[in-house]
Amino acid sequence: MIPGKYRSVSGRAANNVNCGLHLVIQTSSLPEKSKVEFKLNKETPSFSGRLLQHDLERNYSSRQGDGRVISPSPRNKSSCISSTTNVTELCGLEMKTAMSSLSAFGDSSIQTPSKSRIRQGCHSAGPNVSGDHITLASSSMPSFPILQRSSEEKILYSDRLTLERQKLTVCPIIDGEEHLRLLNFQHNFITRIQNISNLQRLIFLDLYDNQIEEISGLSTLRSLRVLLLGKNRIKKISNLENLKSLDVLDLHGNQITKIENVGHLCDLRVLNLARNLLSHVDNLSGLDSLTELNLRHNQITFVRDVDNLPCLQRLFLSFNNISTFESVCCLADSSSLSDITFDGNPIAQESWYKHTILQNMTQLRQLDMKRVTEEERRMASVAAKKEEEKKRESHKQSLLKEKKRLTINNVARKWDLQQHRISSIAPNQDRKVSDCPQDPSQLRGSTVSAFPEETGSLDSGLTSALQGLSVTDTHLVEVDGDTLSLYGSGALESLDRNWSVQTAGMVTTVSFTFIEFDEIVQVLPKLKIKFPNSLHLKFKETNLVMLQQFNALAQLRRVDQLTVDPQGNPVVNFTLWKYYVLFRLSHFSMQKINGTEVTQNDMIMAERLFGILAHVASSELPQYRLISILGDARKKQFRYLLETKGKKPGLVNEENSDSKRLVGENTNRATLNYTTRDFYNERLEEIKEKKKFCKMYMEDLVKEATEINMKNEALQKLWPQMFIELVRDAVIEIRNKNSYMKLCLQQITDQK
C-alpha cells in the first residue's frame, strides 16, 4: 500500500507538471536512516516513467518515518536544473503534496526486500560521486577546512553541494559558491552551524544526523525554505527569526521540550517535532500555513492551540501520553483537520475512543491512517449518544450517591448527638424531623435506577407509590432490589406510604440504621402488613441494649434472618443474646443470625438455657395475669386492626388468623413481651395512679374494718357483764312475787 501510494503521488507529480520538483521520501530500515529524496527535475511527461523507476531504485526500504530527510539526489544532476523562480515555486507546490502524503505514511513500516538490496549500491555509489570531485583543503584558519570544487564540478552542479558522510566536525568554509541553493551535510559530526552565512541564496539546508546543540548561524539565509535538523542534539527552538519563508522545518529526534519561537513562521507548511521531549502542545498561533504537524513519540499529555492553525490538515500524535479526550478537545474546533493519529496513546485503548473522536471531529477523513467511513461515523454518533446518556445517568447516580452519603452522615451526626443527649438528659421524644422539599426529578431518576424493570409502570398512576428512594436531610429511605433501608427515625414514617404491591412484595430485607429500637417496635405491626415478605431484619445503631427487646420481634409474621450489628447495639456483646433470640423467636425457626447458620445444637442450647423461663412464665403465672398479659398483646393487635379496617378487609382477615396462629404457637413464651420504655413508663405512671387510689380506698376500708372490729371487740368484752347485770335486774324485779303480779296487772289494765 505504501509504495503504491508513493508511486501514484510521484507519478502524478511527474505527469502533470512539466517542471516538477519531486520529493521522494525513503524510509530506511533503520529509523534514523530513513531518507527523503528531494529532486528537482525538469522532464517531459514521457520521461517520467523512467524517472519514477529511477527514483524507486534508489529508495531505501523504509520502516520508521520519523527520521525523514529531504536530500537532493546527486544522480539527477543534468535534468533538475531550472530557473530559480521555478524551483522555489515548485518546491513549495510539489513538496506540499508529496510531503503530505508521504509523511503521513512515513511512520508506517514499508518492507520491501528488493529495495534494501538496492540500497547497498546506493551507498557505495551515490554519495561518493560528488565526494570524488571535491577537495577539502585545510584553510589558513586552524580548524576550518576550505572547500573548493573543480570548475567542471561547479558547472555540473552549480547550485548544489553534497557533503554527506565526510566525517566533518565543523562546517567547512565554502568559497565562491554564492549561488548554491542546496547544501547537504547529512551524517557528519558537525556541532555548530557555521560558515554558511554567505550562501544567501540557499533554499535547502540538510543537516540531518549531526551533533548540533543549538540552532544558530542561519540569520542571513533569508531565502531558506527547507531546513532539516533531524537527529541532532537541539534542546530549544531558537534563532529562526529571519527565516521568514521557511516551508519545511524538520526537528525530529532532538531534545526539545517545548514548542516556542515559531510564531513568525507564517509560511511554514510542515513541522516535524517527532521523537522529542515535548510534554504538551502549545504556542502554535501564527503558523498560518501549517498543514502538517508531526508530534509522534513525545510525552504529550495535552494539546492546546491547535484550533489556531487555519490550514492544519494532518496531525500526528501517535505514541504519546494522551489519556482523555478533554486534553485534546481543542482539536474538535479545528475545521481544517482531516487526518489525525492517536495510536499508541492510552486514549486509543478506551472503548469510547473511536466514536468519541469521530463524534467530536466530524471533519475527519482519516483516523489512525484509516479512512473514516460513513457507517463508522453513524455508529460513532449513535454510540456517542449512548455514551452521553450513560454519562448523564452515571452522573445522576453519583450525585444521588453523594447525596445519600451526605444524608447518612447527617443522620449519623444527629444520632450521635441524640445518643449523647440521651446519656446526659432524659430521653426526649419530640425530636424534630424536618422534611426538606424533595427534588422531584431526582426522585424520579432514582426510582428508575432502583426499579429499572418497573419504569414501564411509572405512568400508570403508581408513580407516587413507587418511591424507590427519597432523600431528605434528616432521614433516608431506600429500596435497592429486595432491600429496604431506613436511616434515621423519620424514615419510619415512610411505612405509612402507599407502597406498590410489587415493591412491597419484592422487599425481603429490611435494614434499620440510626433508629431507636423502641421506635422501630412501634412500627413493627405496620411493617408486617406493608412488607409481608420481609424475612431478613438488619439492625445497626439502633440502641439494642436488652435481651427483652427481642421479645418485640415475636409479633412479626416471619423472620428468617436477623443481623444485629455490634455497632450501636451493645446487646450483641452478651454471650447469651443469640440463644435468647433463638429461644424467643423459636416459632420462626430462624436460619441465620448475624450471618451464621443456626444449628440444631444452637436450638437445643437456647431451649436449655431459657426453656425453664418460658415454663415458669407460662405455668406459674396466676391465671388473671396470664390473661392480662396475653390480652395486652392481643388487644394491641386488635387496636391496630381496627385502625386499618375498611381499607383492606382481606388483609385484615388474614392478619387476624395470623395473629391467632402466632398466639397459639407459643403461648408459653408469649408472656415474654416487650413494651417500649416510654410505654412502660406510661404504664407505671398509670399503675401509680391506681395504686394511690387503691391505697386510699384500702386505707378507708381497713380503718373502717378495724373500727368495727374494735367496737365489736369492746362489745364482746362488755357483753358478759351486761348480761349478768340484765339477769340480775330481772331477778330483783321478780323477787317479790305479789307486788310484781300486782304491777303486771296494773300494766294490763292501764293498757286497756
Binding site: 427483652q548 423459636s586 431451649e607 431459657f610 415454663h615 407505671l684
Partner: protein, 331 residues
C-alpha cells in the same frame, strides 16, 4: 389472730407492718386493672388466685420493681424466681458480665434498676472493674444480700464510714435511704493501712442497728458470728462474708444451699420435656437425655481461656468458681 404481738399494736399498724395492706392494696389494684377479664370469672376466684400466688411466690413475675421490692416476701420470691429461671444459665457454666445479669433480671422485671445489679457485682468483683465475668452462684449470692438487705446495707455503709472517720456512729442518726454518698469505698491508701475497721466495734454498732432497724436485717446472731472470726474487716469484706454465709442464706430461705444451687429435679424434668419438643429435634435429646446434657456440663468450659483471669480478678473474694461444687452436687 391471737398472737401477742397483735395486741401490742393497733390493728391498722399491725396489718401494715405485716404487709397485709400491701397485698390487699395490690390485689385491688390488679382487680382494677383487669376489670373486664376478671369479671368474667368472678372476683372471689380472682382473690383466691391472687393470694395463692402470693403464697407460692409467683406473684412477682414480670411485675414492676416498686412492687417487687415492697416486701421481704416479694424480694425472697423474686430471688427464688430468678434462681429458678436462670439456674440453667449457671449450670451451663457461662460466666457473664454485670450487664448481662442485669438483662436477665430485666427479663423478669422490666424496670429493674441498674444500680442494684452494679452494687451486687461490686460485692463479687471487689473493685470497679465492672466488665469482669462472674459465675452465676457468685453473683446470685451477692445479689441476694444486696437485694434483700438493701436498706440495711446502706445503714451499715454509713456506720462503716463513720467508724473509719473515727466518729462514734451510735450518736449519729443512721441514714436509711439517702446515704448514697457513703457508698464510696475508702481511699485505697487508708484501707490498706487500716484494713477497714475493728470487728468488735463494728459488731456492736451493727447489733444496735439491728435492734432498731425497721427493715429486715440478717439475724443478729449470725452477723455476730461473721464478725467474730476476724479482727478487722473492710466493708466489702463484710459483704462478701455475708454473701458466703450459708446460715444467712438459710435464714433468708429463698435460695437453696450453695451446694444444691444447680439442683432442681422438678424443673430439670420439665426442661427435658421441653427439649423433646424443640421443633425439628430428633431422638438425640429424648432417647438419651444424658448425652444431651453433656455439652452443658463439659469440663472444657471450666478450663476455657478466660477462666484463670477470672480467678486472678477476685483473689480477695476467695470465691472459687462454683462450677466444681456444682459438678460435685450433681453427681
Amino acid at each position: 389472730m391471737l398472737s401477742p404481738e397483735r395486741l401490742a399494736l393497733p390493728d391498722y399498724e399491725y396489718l401494715a407492718q405485716r404487709h397485709v395492706l400491701t397485698y390487699m392494696e395490690d390485689a385491688v389494684c390488679q382487680l382494677l386493672e383487669n376489670k373486664e377479664d376478671i369479671s368474667q370469672y368472678g372476683v372471689a376466684r380472682f382473690f383466691t388466685e391472687y393470694f395463692n400466688s402470693v403464697c407460692q411466690g409467683t406473684h412477682i413475675l414480670f411485675r414492676e420493681f416498686s412492687f417487687i421490692q415492697a416486701t421481704p416476701h416479694n424480694r425472697a420470691s423474686f430471688l427464688r424466681a430468678f434462681w429458678k429461671c436462670f439456674r440453667t444459665v449457671g449450670k451451663n457454666g457461662d460466666l457473664l458480665t454485670m450487664r448481662e445479669y442485669h438483662c436477665l433480671l430485666q427479663l423478669l422485671c422490666p424496670d429493674f434498676p441498674l444500680e442494684l445489679t452494679q452494687k451486687a457485682a461490686r460485692i463479687v468483683l471487689m473493685d470497679d472493674a465492672m466488665d469482669c465475668l462472674m459465675s452465676f452462684s457468685d453473683f446470685l449470692f451477692a445479689f441476694q444480700i444486696q437485694f434483700y438487705y438493701s436498706e440495711f446495707l446502706e445503714s451499715v455503709a454509713a456506720i462503716y464510714q463513720d467508724l473509719l472517720a473515727g466518729k462514734n456512729p451510735n450518736t449519729v442518726i443512721v441514714p436509711t435511704s439517702s446515704s448514697g454518698q457513703h457508698r464510696q469505698r475508702p481511699p485505697l491508701g487508708e484501707a490498706s493501712m487500716l484494713e477497714g475497721v475493728e470487728a468488735s466495734q463494728f459488731s456492736q454498732c451493727l447489733e444496735n442497728l439491728c435492734d432498731r432497724h425497721k427493715y429486715s436485717c440478717p439475724p443478729p446472731a449470725l452477723v455476730k458470728e461473721v464478725l467474730s472470726n476476724v479482727q478487722r474487716l473492710t466493708f466489702y469484706g463484710f459483704l462478701v462474708a455475708l454473701s458466703k454465709h450459708h446460715g444467712i442464706n438459710q435464714a433468708l430461705g429463698a435460695l437453696p444451699d450453695k451446694g444444691d444451687l444447680m439442683h432442681d429435679p422438678a424443673m430439670d424434668e420439665e426442661l427435658e420435656r421441653l427439649l423433646a419438643q424443640v421443633p425439628g429435634l430428633v431422638n438425640s435429646a429424648t432417647a438419651n437425655p444424658e448425652a444431651g446434657c453433656l455439652p452443658s456440663r463439659t469440663p472444657p468450659r471450666v478450663g476455657s481461656p478466660w477462666r484463670p483471669l477470672h480467678h486472678a480478678r477476685k483473689v480477695d473474694a476467695e470465691s472459687d468458681g462454683s462450677t466444681e461444687e456444682t459438678d460435685e452436687s450433681e453427681t
